[in-house]
Structures are given as structure tokens and as C-alpha cells.
């Protein structure tokens, strides 16, 4: 039951912290919170070593739902795919827990924070380790819950509460589609067990398969903040920064990618879906990157960046370069977490200020932070030999190959363009935050508890590329290619050199442009283009006014007019009519004997008349 232990540890941490809220000392709470995840990481490390993992180590815990033909147990599955995720989740998770212990040091709701965070880890592990799609969905929704709770952690701020709610609701939209897809799948394939889906995939009708996968992908667009359901993620930055790092960059938002990887037998078989995934991914990548160009909130820059990078991952999944997608997922977890932690460090130093117009010149006082941020930024920009370079390069390479000169080449072009924009906006952020200008106030460097995780992540961001670098033997990719049952990409089929160079070139060009543009705190607005970006290419007003406003108005109209006037009005109208009839019946009773006699005689005439004449 070693496997269940991985989930049980953070779950226990959650229970202790939740029930002990208000009674546990700050120290105990932190120790439980951090310790449980640390132990889970250790357990994960031990577990992935097990030989069973290669063929899938499955532990069935109990029969969960059984109704009619539908029978499903609840169990965990550790294979080469989930191994990657488990390590990322518990590993990065652990680092961020450590960081949090410092970052949240002054918060009164310390226990609650760790309770939520532990619950998140547990939920994420359920998502990752679940042996059925339904179990994955359990984790899927639970991480959404944790996200809601943590975004709205400072619930006394109306903006935070609203952001949490928005995140949950937007996710729910995707989840509803996911749920339908899952149900469709369960009914057509007869199972939701991953181990049996592979064989079932071939038996499904092509149309059904397409619909199922599209519905599931719709779910992924919610969770992973892709077009059109991306809006919640920028708002999610209302949460504490470590949360943004952990949930809204490194782990939860990648669940969509993981889900597609998990269901690769279906997605690879489906006719239309991969193309849709690739296009949506590529479009989102560029779309979000352009918006990141015009943000002033450092965390929002990173948020849009995350959306954009997730787009890359979907692009990879769409072109069926699944190992590449997972690789980027991993490296992104490192460098984006790093960027967020660094940003958190800035906030910590500046007393919560995150608007880049009020930042600047922090390179000197915040030495660790600056280094961390720069490494992360370079990795993000795809500068070799940092981790981001390898994964992003691989994705673009694969997408170019997959296009085979066809129309899908547009996807590759979008990706390439995004690489350039990415470099521009991250350079802008770095320059505005750390570069020129005077620092305001008296910023001080973060305590060691926050510094060390930054350092570790910086190292991973630098060296993480080794997981997929040819030079290092590509251990991750080999493992995953085995898992996806793809023939290994031998160096023999090495892509053309120009293809390998064009990505870093785009990145470097972007850095140069960015530096040129934003050096010296000039902040060009990019003209009309900037306005377009700020308005999310026109989507923002559509969402706010037309969809949300419209729905609210319809709701109000239904409640005030249809409900009260029409439906209830009919009921009350009937009652009023009966009451009026009652009044009329009373008026018949005039009080005059002669009227009564006349009524009596009339009744007699009618009765006899009817009887005799009928």
C-alpha cells in the first residue's frame, strides 16, 4: 500500500491542520504542512524506483460506484507517465511548501493555509495517480476546489473572493463538458479504467471518439486556461504567490495536458481532435503572450505567460508529440515556479507591491531573487542551454515535422512567433522590475526559507534540460516514448540545423527587442496594437458584457418576470379567480325571501324542464 501512502500523507497533513486550526502552534502547523509533503516526495521517489512501475503499478482500494452495468473501483496507478507527474507535484510542491513557510510567516491563518495546500497536493496526487478517468476527475475537481480556496485565501478582499469564484465557475464549464465526455466514453467503451481504454479505443465509432475527445479537451481548456476558458487564470493571481507558483503554474493547470497524455490512445485515434488541440494550443500561446506584453502587474505577466506556455504543451499534444509536451510540462514547472517564487520574493520585499510601474532597481538589494528571476526568464525565453530551450525547441521541431508542409505549418509559425513575443515580454518584465531606476523604500532580501527553494529551482531550470537533451541521453523522453509506445526518435532522424537554430534565435531576438524597447523605463504602449492586446483581442468586453452580463440579466428577468408574474402569477391568478367566484356566490345571497323563493321556483322549472324535455 505504499502507493496509497503517497496520497495519504498530505491528506493526513490536511486533516491535522484543518481540525487543529486555531489550536496548533504556528510551528507545528508549518511542520505538519511541509513535512507531510516532504515525506510524500520521499515516498514518491521510493515508489518510482519500483520495477512494477514500468508496466503500471495498480492498487485497487475499494469498489466505489456500482449501478447496473456501471461498475467502478477506486484505485491508484503509478506508471511511467504518472511517475513524472508525481515527482513534479511532490517535488516542486515540497519546495513551494518550504518557501510558503517563510512567505506566509506573518499570516494569522497559517494553519488554514497549509491545510489547503496539503489538500491540494493530495488532490493533485489523486488526479495524477487515479487509475480510472473518474478518479482523475475526482482529483480534477478537487484541485479546482483547492484553487478556489487558495485564490480566495484572503477572503476579506472582495477581489480575491470574486477571483476564486470566477476560477471555480469557469472551470466548472469545462468540467461539465469533461463530465459529459467521460459519461459518453463510459457508455461507449464500457469502462473508464485506463488500462482497458487502450483496447477499447479501437472499438469506438470514429464519430463518437471525436465527440468524446473534444468534450474532454473542452474540460482541459478550462482547467489549463486555454482559449476560450482562460479568463480565470489572470484573476487567480489574487491568491498568495506561492499558490500561484504551485497551482497556477507548475501543477494544476497542467492537468489538461496530463489528461490528454493519459488518454493518448483515444486522442491519437480520434480524427479531428488532435488538430483542434494543436490549433487551440498554438492560438492560445500567441494570444496570451501578446496580452502579457501589456500587463503592468508582474504576476499577471507570469499568468499570461503560463497560459501561453500551456498553449505550447497543447500544441505538442495536438501534433501527437506527447513526450515533448510532457517534457515541456516538467521544465515549465521548474522555471515558472522559479519565476513566481522570485516574484513572490519581490512582493515580500516591497510589502505587497507588484505593479511594475512602482518597481525597479531591485537588482541590487535583492540579489538572490534577481538571479533566480533571470534564470527563469532566460529559461522561459528558450535560451540555450537552459531547460526551456530543450523542451520548447523540441515541440516546435515536432510540430514542423508533423505539419509535413501542410496547413498545420501555421501552427508551427504561431509557435515560433510566440517564442519571440515570449522573450520580449519576459525581458520587459525583468527590465522593469529589476533593471533601471531607483528602488522605492527599503527592500530587503527574503529569509533563507524562501531563498533556498529559489535556488533549487534555479538549478533545476538550468539543468532540467538534461532530462531531454540528446547529450544527456534524454532519460525522460526515452521513458515516455516507451510509455506512449512510439518508436524512439533516434538522432539519425535529426532535424535540419536551421530548424534547431531558429527557435533560440527567435528567443534571442526577442530579448534584444525587449531590452531595446524597455530599457530606461520607457514604456511604449505599442499603439493601437497595445489596445487590442489590452482588450484581449476583443474577448474581454465580449465576456464581461455580453456573456456574463447577459446571463445575469436573463437570470434576473426569469426570476422577476417569468417566475413571479407568469408561473406564480398563473397560480395566484387561479386562486384570485376562485376567491372572486366566492364573492360572487356570496352576492347571490341577497337576504330577501322573495329572491330565494324565485331561485327555488327557477330551480324547479329548470329541473322539471330538463327532465321532461330532454
Amino acid at each position: 500500500m505504499n502507493l496509497a501512502l503517497i496520497v495519504a500523507l498530505p491528506l493526513a497533513g490536511w486533516l491535522l491542520n484543518a481540525l487543529g486550526a486555531g489550536r496548533l502552534s504556528r510551528r507545528a502547523a508549518g511542520l505538519i504542512g511541509v513535512g507531510s509533503v516532504g515525506l510524500a516526495f520521499a515516498a514518491s521517489l521510493a515508489a518510482v524506483q519500483r520495477p512494477e512501475v514500468a508496466s503500471g503499478w495498480r492498487v485497487v482500494l475499494w469498489e466505489w460506484i456500482a449501478a447496473g452495468d456501471f461498475r467502478l473501483s477506486f484505485g491508484l496507478l503509478l506508471d511511467r507517465l504518472s511517475a513524472v507527474m508525481v515527482l513534479v507535484v511532490t517535488g516542486v510542491g515540497f519546495l513551494i511548501h518550504v518557501y510558503s513557510a517563510g512567505y506566509m510567516g506573518g499570516d494569522p491563518a497559517y494553519s488554514r493555509y497549509f491545510a489547503y495546500l496539503n489538500l491540494f497536493i493530495a488532490s493533485m496526487l489523486v488526479l495524477v495517480l487515479g487509475d480510472t478517468l473518474l478518479a482523475l476527475f475526482v482529483g480534477w475537481e478537487l484541485v479546482g476546489l483547492c484553487s478556489y480556496l487558495l485564490i480566495g485565501f484572503w477572503f476579506d478582499r472582495p477581489s480575491a473572493a470574486a477571483a476564486g469564484r470566477k476560477a471555480f465557475v469557469v472551470n466548472r464549464i469545462g468540467d461539465a463538458a469533461f463530465l459529459l465526455g467521460m459519461i459518453f466514453l463510459a457508455l461507449s467503451a464500457g469502462t473508464l479504467e485506463f488500462s482497458r481504454l487502450a483496447e477499447a479505443a479501437g472499438t469506438l465509432a470514429p464519430a463518437a471518439l471525436t465527440v468524446i475527445t473534444l468534450l474532454l479537451f473542452a474540460g482541459a481548456t478550462g482547467k489549463s486556461a486555454q482559449l476560450p476558458l482562460y479568463t480565470w487564470l489572470p484573476d487567480a493571481m489574487e491568491g498568495p504567490t506561492p499558490v500561484s507558483a504551485l497551482i497556477h503554474a507548475a501543477t494544476m493547470v497542467t492537468a489538461g495536458v496530463y489528461m490528454i497524455a493519459r488518454l493518448h490512445p483515444l486522442f491519437t485515434e480520434a480524427a479531428l481532435t488532435p488538430t483542434v488541440v494543436a490549433v487551440v494550443g498554438a492560438a492560445t500561446a500567441l494570444f496570451a503572450a501578446t496580452i502579457a506584453l501589456v500587463q503592468w502587474d508582474l504576476k499577471r505577466v507570469l499568468a499570461y505567460s503560463t497560459i501561453s506556455q500551456l498553449g505550447y504543451m497543447f500544441l505538442a499534444m495536438g501534433v501527437l508529440a506527447m513526450p515533448a509536451g510532457m517534457f515541456h510540462l516538467t521544465t515549465h514547472a521548474f522555471f515558472k515556479a522559479l519565476l513566481f517564487l522570485a516574484a513572490g520574493s519581490v512582493m515580500h520585499a516591497m510589502g505587497g507591491v507588484i505593479d511594475m510601474r512602482r518597481l525597479g532597481g531591485l537588482a541590487r538589494p535583492l540579489r538572490w531573487t534577481t538571479w533566480g528571476f533571470l534564470i527563469g526568464a532566460l529559461a522561459l525565453a528558450g535560451v540555450p542551454p537552459l531547460a526551456g530551450f530543450f523542451s520548447k525547441d523540441l515541440i516546435l521541431e515536432r510540430s514542423f515535422e508533423a505539419a509535413r508542409g501542410g496547413p498545420l505549418l501555421a501552427v508551427w509559425l504561431l509557435g515560433l512567433l510566440t517564442a519571440f513575443v515570449t522573450a520580449v515580454y519576459i525581458t520587459r518584465a525583468a527590465v522593469l522590475t529589476f533593471g533601471s531606476g531607483e528602488s522605492h523604500g527599503h527592500p530587503h532580501e527574503a529569509p533563507p526559507l524562501m531563498r533556498w527553494p529559489i535556488a533549487v529551482l534555479a538549478v533545476l531550470s538550468v539543468a532540467g534540460g538534461a532530462l531531454g537533451a540528446y547529450a544527456a541521453g534524454r532519460p525522460l523522453l526515452v521513458s515516455l516514448e516507451g510509455f506512449f509506445e512510439l518508436e524512439a526518435h533516434e538522432p539519425a532522424a535529426a532535424p535540419a540545423l536551421w530548424l534547431r537554430l531558429i527557435t533560440p534565435a527567435a528567443g534571442l531576438l526577442g530579448i534584444a527587442v525587449g531590452y531595446a524597447l524597455y530599457r530606461g523605463r520607457r514604456a511604449p504602449r505599442l499603439g493601437w496594437l497595445g489596445t487590442v492586446f489590452e482588450q484581449h483581442w476583443g474577448l474581454a468586453p465580449l465576456y464581461d458584457r455580453v456573456i456574463v452580463g447577459g446571463a445575469k440579466r436573463i437570470g434576473q428577468d426569469l426570476a422577476d418576470v417569468i417566475e413571479l408574474r407568469v408561473i406564480d402569477g398563473a397560480v395566484n391568478g387561479l386562486a384570485a379567480a376562485v376567491a372572486a367566484a366566492g364573492g360572487a356566490a356570496r352576492r347571490l345571497q341577497t337576504g330577501y325571501v322573495r329572491t330565494y323563493a324565485a331561485v327555488l321556483l327557477a330551480g324547479t322549472v329548470l329541473l322539471l324542464g330538463y327532465w321532461l324535455l330532454r
Partner: protein, 474 residues
């Protein structure tokens, strides 16, 4: 000359009639403070008569040259009449003595009316029915006007009398026409008659007379005014005894005799029933006087009871009998509560006078709630069982519209009955409200409440009892 067996068969009637005379005479010799003895005697006589009725049982389908019968119908409906009279007597005593009404005459008239209803139950000849009807009605006219210095009581008496006499002429004309066709007033002859327009007209006119007594729409107009104006215990008594007598005769004449014409009169009775249910319930909706509310309620219930007659079957007939017995309990119970509550020594007639009754007397309010629930036909009360029976009868006879209108009318009735219950359980009691009545009233109240509930939960014995009615019709 009547045989001795015939006379023995008349035991209950003679007991009641004799006691009426005894009470009348004795009252003149009794000092005022001992007038309550009259009540004891009357009650004892009614109880004894009830016992004799049950003891005699059925077994004389024809006596007095075929004028009279002691069959299932007689037994069951005479029991109902005696029970109603007994309860009404218990309700009336304290009121009569408090209001200084003439006790001897009051009880004598009460007994006479009971006698009338009993005779109507047993009659197998239209002359007997007519005389029974008058024996029932004339005392009621007098009782309605009994508080003779009270304007409203006078008015009630006059309206009742004039309209009653008016309707009686129609009834008589009906007898005349039937006599013209069959050459006889005996129901047995009527049963075998071939029909024809004159017979139809005769039966139709009979129906008018009986419908007036039972207060069926459109022959009901007298009843709200009379109920409201008559002294409260009289209203209570009237509301049950007149119905028992009228329905006894309706059963005797329609499903009991005119079986050959059933196809014709069932539809007509169904229409009357629907009109009665609808109008009675609608007019009751917006009443503010409790007596008037109960008047319309009694009209409405007449409509429900008529369903059983309109079914034209044995099942319908016993359902009528069951309903009448249940109705006796619940209506007299409701009146008992009304008698309990007084305002400044007078009848507390407004529904609003019951406001907050539950905080003054929870038991009284609970009892009233039971009666109201039963009148509304909700389980677990006798009112529900009665409705179940009549609706079953209607549906069995294919009178679907009757059953559907009936259930919907019941729903409407729930509004005004429950409004009374609601009033009692909310608000603060009004000033000047006091409780009146003696142990007799309390006993009657308890008996009615227990009756309503017990018969609602264990209706089986009573059901078996009333099924005798069906046997009588066969």
C-alpha cells in the same frame, strides 16, 4: 288494526314521542332551578331509543300495511338521527338555561324533530314521508325562531317557515302527481310504475321538496340565513337532523325505489351535487361569521353526500350513511367549539373571535383543528373516509365528473376550514372572549373529537354497520 308485532317495532319512535310529551308536560310543573332534569330525561330517552334501534335490528321489511319498515336503512339512519339528537341535546342544555329559553318546549321540539327524521328513515309510503318531513320541519321552524325576541332569530324563523312551506307544496304536488299515475302513495307501487311524463314531474317535485330540506343548490338559499339567525344550538341541530331526514328519504325513494328510472335521475342528481359542491364551497370562502361558514359548509357537504345517492348503487347508499354519521360528529363538534366560546356572554359568531384560541385553551383549539381537518376531508379523520367512500361509489357508477369535481371542491374547502384552524393558532386572544358551557358540552365535544379520529383510523366496524343500508335497497 295494527298487529302487536307492528307496535313493538315502533318502540324507538314511541319512546321518543312519549318523552317529548312527558317533557312538555313535566316542564310546567318543574321549578326553574330543576329544569335540568328535563335534559336528563330527554337524553336518557334518546339513548334508550338508540339502544332499542340497535337491539331491534332489521327484520321487518314491511309493517303497518306496508307503510313502514325496520330494515337496514331504518336502523342505520335512525341511529344517526338519534346520535345527532343526543349530541345536539348535550350541546344545547347550557345555552338554553343560560339564555332563559323555555327548556321544556325546547327539548320537546328537539325530540319531535328527531322523531320526524326517524319516521322519514322508516317510511315506505309517501304520506308517511310527508308527515315525517313535517314532523321534522315544523319543530325546526319553531326552534329557529325560538329566541323570539331576537330579531335575527325571528327572521330566521320566518324565512325558514315561508320557504319551507313553499317547498312543501311542491313536495305535495309531487305526491299528487305520483298518486295520479300509480293510484297509490306506496313506494312499492311507485317502484313498479312504468314511468311517463307525469311520473317524472311528480318525482321531480318530490326531489325539490327533499332537496330543500337537504339544502341542495339551487334549493339551498334559506340555509345560510337561517343558520346564522337561529340560536347556535338550534343551528347545530338543524344542520344534522334535517340532512339525515332528507337523505334518508332520498335514499328510500331514489336508489331504494326508482331503480327502473335510475338512468334518468342519476344525471340530474349528479348535476345538483356538482352545483351544490361548487356553490357551497365557493360561497364559504369569504365568510367572516362562523355560523355562516358552517352553513355553507353544510351545503357543500350535502353536495358531497348527494354523490352517494347519485351513484344510485348500494355502495353509494351506504357511503351516504357513513358520510352522514361522520358528518354528524364533525359538524356537531365544530358547533360545540363555537358554543364553548362566548363574547360578552353572547354567541361569539365571528371567526376572528377564535384568534389565539390555542393559547387560551389548547385542547379546545386542537379539537377544533381536528373537526376542521375532518370537514376538509383530510386523513386521518372520518371526513376523509366518508369522501373516499362516496367517490368510490361515484366512480364505480361511472360518474367520473362527480368524483373529479368532488375532489377539487374538497381542495377549495380546505382553504376556509384551515383558515379557521390557522386563526386559532396565531395571534393574541381578543378581549372579552370567555368560555361557556357545562360538562355536557365538554362531553359532547370529547365524544365528537374521539369519534372523528377513531372512525377515521378504525372505520371498519362502522363501515360494516352502514353496509346494512345496501342490503335494505336490494
Amino acid at each position: 288494526m295494527p298487529a302487536a308485532a307492528d307496535l313493538r317495532m315502533l318502540g324507538p319512535e314511541m319512546l321518543v314521542a312519549g318523552t317529548a310529551l312527558l317533557v312538555l308536560v313535566w316542564a310546567t310543573f318543574l321549578p326553574p332551578q330543576r329544569q335540568h332534569l328535563l335534559r336528563w330525561i330527554s337524553a336518557a330517552a334518546l339513548a334508550a331509543a338508540l339502544a332499542v334501534v340497535l337491539r331491534l335490528g332489521t327484520g321487518a321489511a314491511s309493517a303497518f300495511s306496508g307503510m313502514y319498515a325496520r330494515d337496514g336503512l331504518t336502523v342505520v339512519l335512525q341511529s344517526a338521527a338519534l346520535l345527532g339528537a343526543l349530541l345536539a341535546l348535550a350541546l344545547a342544555g347550557a345555552y338554553v338555561e343560560r339564555s332563559h329559553l323555555d327548556a321544556g318546549e325546547f327539548y320537546a321540539l328537539l325530540l319531535a324533530a328527531a322523531l320526524g327524521a326517524m319516521v322519514m328513515a322508516g317510511s315506505r309510503d309517501l304520506i308517511m314521508v310527508f308527515l315525517g318531513l313535517e314532523t321534522l320541519s315544523i319543530p325546526l321552524y319553531v326552534l329557529a325562531a325560538f329566541a323570539r325576541t331576537d330579531l335575527r332569530s325571528q327572521e330566521a324563523g320566518m324565512k325558514y317557515f315561508l320557504l319551507g312551506a313553499f317547498s312543501t307544496t311542491f313536495f305535495l304536488y309531487g305526491i299528487a302527481l305520483i298518486y295520479g299515475v300509480t293510484g297509490s302513495t306506496a313506494l312499492a307501487r311507485l317502484a313498479g310504475s312504468p314511468g311517463g311524463p307525469m311520473l317524472r314531474a311528480g318525482v321531480g317535485l318530490l326531489l325539490v321538496g327533499l332537496a330543500f330540506k337537504a339544502a341542495l343548490v339551487p334549493f339551498h338559499a334559506w340555509s345560510p340565513d337561517v343558520y346564522e339567525g337561529a340560536p347556535l344550538p338550534v343551528t347545530a341541530y338543524m344542520s344534522v337532523i334535517a340532512k339525515i331526514g332528507a337523505f334518508a328519504a332520498l335514499l328510500r325513494i331514489f336508489p331504494g325505489t326508482l331503480t327502473a328510472l335510475a338512468g334518468e335521475w342519476r344525471g340530474i342528481l349528479a348535476v345538483l351535487s356538482i352545483l351544490t359542491m361548487v356553490l357551497g364551497n365557493l360561497a364559504a370562502l369569504r365568510q367572516t361569521s362562523l355560523k355562516r361558514l358552517l352553513a355553507y359548509s353544510s351545503i357543500a357537504h350535502a353536495g358531497f353526500i348527494l354523490i352517494g345517492v347519485a351513484a344510485g348503487s348500494g355502495r353509494g347508499a351506504w357511503a351516504v350513511a357513513f358520510y352522514l354519521l361522520g358528518y354528524t360528529f364533525m359538524t356537531l363538534g365544530a358547533f360545540a367549539v363555537a358554543l364553548r366560546v362566548t363574547r360578552g356572554g353572547e354567541e361569539a359568531d365571528a371567526i376572528a373571535d377564535l384568534t389565539g384560541l390555542a393559547s387560551r385553551s389548547p385542547a379546545l383549539a386542537a379539537a377544533m383543528a381536528v373537526f376542521m381537518v375532518s370537514l376538509a376531508g383530510l386523513p386521518p379523520t372520518v371526513g376523509f373516509v366518508g369522501k373516499l367512500y362516496v367517490f368510490t361509489a361515484a366512480l364505480e357508477a361511472g360518474q367520473n365528473a362527480l368524483a373529479i369535481v368532488g375532489v377539487l371542491a374538497s381542495v377549495v374547502s380546505a382553504y376556509y376550514y384551515l383558515r379557521v384552524a390557522y386563526t386559532m393558532f396565531t395571534g393574541e386572544p381578543a378581549a372579552g372572549i370567555a368560555f361557556a358551557g357545562d360538562r355536557w358540552l365538554g362531553g359532547a365535544l370529547l365524544a365528537a373529537a374521539v369519534g372523528v379520529l377513531v372512525l377515521g383510523v378504525f372505520p371498519s366496524p362502522l363501515t360494516v354497520f352502514v353496509q346494512q343500508v345496501a342490503q335494505a335497497l336490494r
